[in-house]
Subunit: 126 residues, 2 copies
DNA sequence: ATAAACCTTAGAGTGGACTTTAAGGCAAGA
DNA sequence: TCTTGCCTTAAAGTCCACTCTAAGGTTTAT
């Protein structure tokens, strides 16, 4: 699968795909004889993984660390698992915070007319 | 309440509080005779609101638009409510996306040993 | 009275994550 | 064969949201 097809299928800029590969947020992508990227299933799995992590708010730097461990092979399985677990907790906290914010926002919208004081507190009535 | 007290109470940098006010992401804060910021309850409500929105992933630019409408008074109530509703939907979508990512990540961690193929696919066995 | 610890502003600097540009190679259709 | 459109890299540029610096005014404690 060429980069532009991947871009369309996954709704992600091809520039971003190249960027992720360049900095090491995904492992090196398979190439064809012309040197063009030719994403196989495994490459696509890494793209999905990176997108998933980014959607969850995980930093590119973290992805780089993770992939770096992955490239070092089996002996890093435990370290990788721990890294994932750390991120899992962070994501979970972020999710809870967002949920709380969403609820507050929802409440505000639902009670808008009642809540709004419309600057009268500061501007005085006129 | 002075800026540093607000900073400590809300766990937010005073630079950020000044920045939000400067760009108009919150309305102008009450000042004392020396020109120092002296946050009253209403000012604090705006700080909470901005923090809540930022936590939900809402952009500073959106906050500026919202506060701009607010400053124009009662005739913008409907427009503001619509803006909030738009953001509510966007936040809701982001939340769902994050939840999905979290679930995938959780699954990956829980099944780590089974899932990991450890680069053998590409590097061959040795 | 004077030093330490606050506060102010304008403007410059930073970090993260892309995104664009420049200069060029490859491939498929007319 | 030529043109259109894809692909490549390295490097520079952009955008967002802060964050810091410089230069100076105020308040508080000794």
């Amino acid at each position: 699968m060429k980069i532009n097809e991947v871009s369309k299928k996954y709704h992600i800029a091809s520039d971003t795909l190249r960027y992720w590969e360049r900095v090491g947020a995904i492992p090196a992508v398979t190439r064809d004889s012309a040197g063009y990227r030719n994403y196989d299933n495994e490459d696509l799995d890494w793209v999905s993984f990176a997108m998933c992590m980014r959607d969850a708010g995980v930093s590119v730097e973290y992805l780089i660390d993770y992939i770096s461990l992955f490239k070092q092979g089996k002996q890093t399985v435990q370290a990788r698992k721990e890294l994932l677990n750390d991120q899992l907790e962070i994501v979970s906290a972020r999710l809870a915070k967002m949920q709380k914010s969403y609820n507050k926002l929802k409440y505000k919208v639902d009670h808008y007319e009642k809540i709004d004081k419309d600057y009268e507190g500061k501007m005085g009535k006129h």
